[in-house]
């Protein structure tokens, strides 16, 4: 049976991103957008209409786009550099490293349509390596919001934060996750959001995978397994305490991300736990380049479904020391 990865009734987080940026730009004239002919794909038509001169379109030129972002920051602006994440993170990686991360310029990088959102377009247009690349740059805060509310919070936090930020967005529809396990809503970069308490296994999920992880927890509960679930929205800095506490208290871990597991959250958790608290770990995500296919098909193929996550959790539980 096919499990739809995309909710029929869900939200495209690009809308939350654009609405938040427009609202911030109205309050703070330092905010500018920098794009590579990506006004439409970044959903910035409204921004362009309201703040025409503050939308800097450098054309199809990603290296220039990121360098211009650093220069705008030098000139006192707060640039949000927005482009399809496959081009932003890969084509301009040296500019991100030298001009933004190492120079510590106050640039916000916004990767649109990340993961395999451009499913059928193939691996050139998939952006599954970006977490590994960006997480390696230690001055960059790397955020992966999971729903419209987290997206708004991430954009607002980035605008107020002094320093480089990468926000990874998707065009795939996701549900509103609602409140944290304790009934409140807290989005603090560097602190994972506890969405569900649990004692037998912990699922650490990011972005489009969080709502699927919550469904997996429902499946596991039916089988008597109590799963803790985090919206692990920050890759850098890593919430080490949440991971190590989960390792100690639940004894089994599963990471879920719409990304390459090598170097991504799967890699980060493996690095941390193997050095501090060796724990059975199953990693849901991509193992390498993906073929062409619809998003649903690619998710199903890679077991990035509630059923697939639940299976992985059972395997992790069975491997407990």
């Amino acid at each position: 049976m096919m499990t739809a990865a995309i909710e029929e009734e869900g939200f495209d987080c690009r809308k939350a991103w654009a609405a938040t940026l427009e609202s911030l730009a109205a309050e703070d004239e330092r905010i500018v957008a920098v794009v590579n002919d990506s006004v439409g794909s970044s959903n910035l038509g409204g921004f362009q209409k309201d703040f025409a001169d503050r939308l800097v379109n450098v054309g199809i030129a990603e290296q220039n786009m990121v360098g211009v972002g650093a220069g705008l920051a030098n000139g006192g602006r707060i640039p949000f550099v927005s482009a399809a994440s496959c081009f932003l993170s890969a084509r301009a990686l040296e500019q991100i490293k030298a001009d933004v991360a190492y120079s510590e310029y106050n640039v916000k990088l916004v990767g649109q349509s990340s993961g395999v959102a451009y499913g059928e377009l193939g691996a050139t247009h998939h952006s599954i390596e970006d977490f590994a690349w960006l997480r390696a740059l230690d001055t960059v805060t790397v955020l992966a919001p999971a729903d419209p509310w987290e997206t708004e919070m991430a954009v607002r936090w980035a605008a107020a934060h002094q320093g480089p930020v990468y926000i990874r967005l998707s065009r795939m529809k996701v549900p509103d996750l609602g409140s944290d396990a304790d009934g409140r809503r807290d989005f603090t970069p560097g602190k994972a959001r506890l969405m569900r308490t649990g004692a037998d296994v912990t699922i650490l999920a990011s972005g489009t995978m969080v709502h699927l992880a919550l469904k997996a927890a429902d499946i596991l509960a039916q089988g008597g397994i109590s799963a803790r679930v985090y919206s692990f929205h920050t890759y850098n800095p890593l919430d080490e305490m949440a991971i190590l506490d989960a390792a100690t208290e639940t004894g089994a871990l599963v990471t879920c991300e719409e990304a390459l597991v090598r170097g991504g959250l799967g890699g980060a958790v493996a690095e941390l736990t193997s050095a501090n608290q060796p724990t059975p770990l199953e990693r849901i995500g991509f193992q390498g380049f993906q073929t062409t296919g619809s998003v649903d098909w690619l998710f199903e193929e890679n077991r990035m479904t509630p059923g697939g996550i639940a299976e992985a959790a059972r395997r992790a539980v069975a491997r407990k020391l």
Partner: protein, 277 residues
């Protein structure tokens, strides 16, 4: 008129003295540390001296002054000339130059703005400074600020495609507050530019991208000042500064060997003698 000429003469004398000091000090740094890029330091010295002691508006006590003119050193390997210029401009004490490339020094092999006041961008990989300078100029254009932005690239560096992305955008936006200077010493790391991947006709290329182009002797301070201060006719300006790699030291001039060659003691003594002239 007479007073103006006298002021200009004083300025030229100052530039000339600073340039001589910068060349000698860079030579000492490279000789002492047995590291550096002396050939490109010497070719760019007169350009930086003209900028820092004749053209740029800045306050070394307030390096991040929002209204300062910006100079982005895109050929980031030429730290001998950049650091001596910033030092002579008063950004940091001369003693810091003695720490050049020492472990944990503020004076990296390539510049770091977070350690060293006066540095605008952490350059080193080529083709980065020009897009950054473009962003600075766009910021000035947006806010109506009257600061000017200057960027210096090497000539071999022009082979990096990112420069042409920036050139296209600057031409399109008619950025009259942006000046690109190309240190045209005609040698890249291992061979002449024209034997590697030819750049000529460089003037025509920039004109075709919507730039106002002038060509000057990059060691003639008066000519440099005239080109750097020429009023813009409404678009970005490119100054092709014809220079000599290794300028001022007879055995280093026009030789690729001195891209990152280091003088031995005898060569150093001879170089210092020639540079005191």
């Amino acid at each position: 008129m007479e007073a103006q000429r006298e002021t200009n003469d004083l300025r030229l004398t100052d530039i000339s003295e600073k340039a001589r000091w910068m060349r000698r000090r860079a030579m000492q740094m490279v000789h002492a540390k047995k590291l550096g890029h002396i050939g490109g330091d010497l070719s760019a010295t007169d350009i930086l001296a003209a900028l820092y002691f004749g053209v740029l508006r800045y306050d070394p006590k307030n390096p991040n002054w929002p209204e300062r003119d910006r100079f982005v050193m895109s050929k980031g390997h030429a730290t001998g000339v950049l650091y001596t210029a910033l030092c002579a401009a008063g950004y940091f004490p001369e003693g810091w130059l003695d720490t050049y490339m020492e472990p944990a020094s503020k004076l990296n092999g390539h510049p770091n703005r977070n350690y060293l006041p006066g540095v605008e961008a952490n350059t080193g990989p080529l083709g980065h400074g020009f897009p950054i300078a473009l962003g600075v100029a766009i910021a000035g254009q947006l806010s109506g600020a009257d600061y000017k932005t200057f960027v210096l690239t090497g000539d071999g560096e022009q082979q990096e495609g990112s420069n042409w992305e920036a050139a296209m955008t600057a031409g399109h936006r008619r950025l009259s507050n942006l000046t690109l200077i190309i240190d045209r010493n005609r040698l890249q790391q291992g061979a002449p530019t024209e034997e590697t991947v030819s750049l000529d006709p460089l003037e025509d290329k920039y004109r075709a991208f919507g730039w106002e182009v002038s060509e000057v002797d990059g060691h003639d301070h008066a000519a440099l000042l005239e080109a750097l201060e020429a009023p813009s006719s409404g678009g970005p300006r490119c100054i092709i500064a014809n220079t000599v790699k290794g300028k001022g030291v007879s055995f280093m001039e026009h030789k690729t060997k001195w891209h990152h060659g280091v003088p031995n003691d005898a060569e150093f003594d001879q170089a210092m003698e020639e540079l005191s002239a």
